[in-house]
Amino acid sequence: MRILLASDPVHLPSLVSAARSLSPSNLEAVSTARAEVPVDRLLIADVRVNDCWVDALTPRDFDLLLLPPTRDFKEVGARLAARRGLPYLSEALELELDGKVEASRMVFSGRGVERIRTSLPAVATLNLDGFEPVEGSPDSVEELKVDCTPRVEVIERREREAEVDLSKADVIVSVGRGLKRKEDLEMIRELASLLGAEVACTRPISADLKWLPEERHVGMTGVRVKPKVYLALGISGQIQHVVGFRDADTVIAVNIDPDAPISEVSDYFVVADLYEVVPRLIEEIRKRKRS
C-alpha cells in the first residue's frame, strides 16, 4: 500500500499521523516547504497555485493520495481525480483499507453519515480531527521540479495566522445574528473571559459581516467543536451550524423566539433577549467570583 500525501507544511504532521494509522508499506509526501515528519520520502515542490499542484501530482504513482480538507486541496483533489479517471472521496472520515477503500462522509448538512466503498487507486481529502500531529525525520528529502504554466494568475494572497483552534476549547460562547452590532461583541468577550471560554459564531457573523475571523465559525463549513459547554446566543439553529457543536457535552441556548429550531438541539433552551441575559449573567458570575 503506497500512500502519497500532498499538503502545505502546516497540515502535514496531522496528515502523516492519519496516513500512518493505515500502515502503508511506503509513505511519501509532497510539501511546499520542509517539515519534520516521519515519511519515507519528502518531496519539496515550489508550487504556489492550485493549477501547479494538479500538474505536480498528475504523473505520480500511488495507491492512495491523501490531502488536507482545505478549500484549496478540495479543488486539487477533485481535479486530479477527474484528470486521472480515479474515484474521489471528499472530507473522508474513518478511512479503511482492505484492497479497496471505505470511508464515511457527512451528508445532508450533517443530518446523516454515509459509508462509501470504492476501488484503489483513489484520491481523498481527509478530515483531520482527532489526529495528533507527529514529528520525526524524513528518510530522504528531495526537491521536486514541477513543470507548470498556471492558467489562473494569482494577484494577491493574504493568509492570517489563525488566532485560535476552537476544536480544542473547553467552553465556548457562540453568537449569531441575534447580536445587533459589532460593538456588542465586547460584552460577549467579557462573558467569555469570565467563563474561561473562547468566542465562536455562526457563518453570517464571520463570512457576511466579518465581525470575527473565519476560524471562529462553527459548523459544516467551519470548525467542529466538542466543548463541555456550548452557550449559543442569538443563534437560530440551522442544521449547517448545529452539526458543528453536536459533540458538545451540554448546550445552553438563549433565543428570543420560543420556536427557534435550536430548542430541539439544546439541553437548556432559554427563551429571552440576549441583551437582557448577558449583562445579568456577567454581573452574577462576577458576584460569585468575588465572594
Binding site: 477533485a78 481525480a81 463570512a207 438563549v254 427563551v271
Partner: protein, 254 residues
C-alpha cells in the same frame, strides 16, 4: 456571453424525517441546492450587465418538481437543460460532472462562463465545479466570494479558510461561488408564470455513454444526538440563575 449556471435539485435536508437511526430521505420535498441559487443569481447579473444568454443546467437527483424548476428559471435564466436518470443519483461527483459536461456538449453549448455553487446541500463534496473544469479543459476558480468581469477575463476573490486570494482567470472558465457573493432574488408570481414557457431540453444520463469509477454507498445513517431539551421561560433573573446553576454543575464556574 454564453453562460451556464449549474444547479442540483436535491432533497431538502432540513425536512428529512428521522426514524430511529434512519433518514427517510425520499419523504422530503425537493429544492434547488442552496448555494446553486447564488450561482444562478450571479449568472443572471452578468447577463444583465453585458448581455447574452443563461442556460440553467439542472441535475435532477430525486423526483422532479415542475414548480421548483419554474421558480429557478424565473430568476432570469433563458432556458433549462435538465439532466436526469439513475446515473446522477447517489454520490459520485465524477459521474455527475461528466454527465453535466456531456449534456452541455450534446446541446451544442460552448460556454464562456460556467458558474456553480461551491458545494451542494446534500453532499457538499465541492468536487463538481473542479471536475467540470477538468472535463472541459477550462481554467477554474473555486470558492469565489466576489467577482468582477474584465476584458476577456474575470478578477475574482477566493474565500479561503485563513484569508483570501485574488486571482485573474481568462475566459472561458468555470467558477464556483460561495453564498456570500450575492443575495438570490425571489421571483414574482408573474415571472414564475412566464418562466413556464421557456425552452427546455431533457437529457437522460443513461444515453450519454458515461465512463466513471464506481462508488458504492453501503450504508446511510441518521446522525442524531439526544438532548435534555429543558425549556427556561419567564422571568429573566430567574433564567440567569438557572444558567449559572448549570454552569456551576458543569464545573465552568466555581
Amino acid at each position: 456571453m454564453e453562460i451556464v449556471a449549474c444547479a442540483k435539485l436535491v432533497y431538502d435536508e432540513t425536512q428529512i424525517p428521522v426514524e430511529g437511526d434512519r433518514l427517510l430521505v425520499d419523504q422530503a420535498p425537493v429544492k434547488v441546492s442552496d448555494i446553486d441559487r447564488n450561482a444562478i443569481e450571479e449568472a443572471v447579473r452578468i447577463k444583465e450587465e453585458v448581455g447574452g444568454r443563461v442556460t440553467l443546467a439542472l441535475v435532477v437527483t430525486g423526483p422532479f418538481d415542475e414548480a421548483i424548476l419554474k421558480e429557478a428559471l424565473a430568476m432570469g435564466a433563458d432556458r433549462a437543460l435538465m439532466v436526469q436518470g439513475d446515473e446522477v443519483r447517489g454520490h459520485n461527483p465524477y459521474r455527475t460532472a461528466q454527465a453535466l459536461v456531456k449534456a452541455i456538449e450534446r446541446e451544442g453549448i460552448r460556454p464562456d462562463l460556467v458558474i456553480c455553487g461551491e458545494g451542494s446541500s446534500d453532499q457538499y463534496s465541492c468536487a463538481l465545479p473542479a471536475m467540470v473544469a477538468e472535463f472541459m479543459s477550462l481554467p477554474v476558480a473555486t470558492f469565489v466570494g466576489r467577482m468582477e468581469l474584465g476584458e476577456g477575463k474575470l478578477r475574482v476573490e477566493r474565500y479561503l479558510e485563513g484569508g483570501y486570494e485574488i486571482v485573474e482567470v481568462p475566459l472561458p472558465a468555470v467558477i464556483s461561488v460561495t453564498s456570500e457573493i450575492n443575495e438570490p432574488r425571489i421571483p414574482t408570481v408573474l415571472q414564475i408564470m412566464r418562466a413556464g414557457k421557456r425552452e427546455r431540453s431533457v437529457v437522460d444520463a443513461s444515453q450519454l455513454g458515461l465512463d466513471y469509477p464506481e462508488m458504492e454507498e453501503i450504508e446511510m445513517k441518521a446522525y442524531v444526538r439526544e438532548r435534555l431539551r429543558k425549556r427556561i421561560e419567564g422571568d429573566v433573573n430567574e433564567a440567569v440563575r438557572r444558567i449559572v446553576e448549570v454552569l456551576e454543575e458543569k464545573g465552568v464556574i466555581p
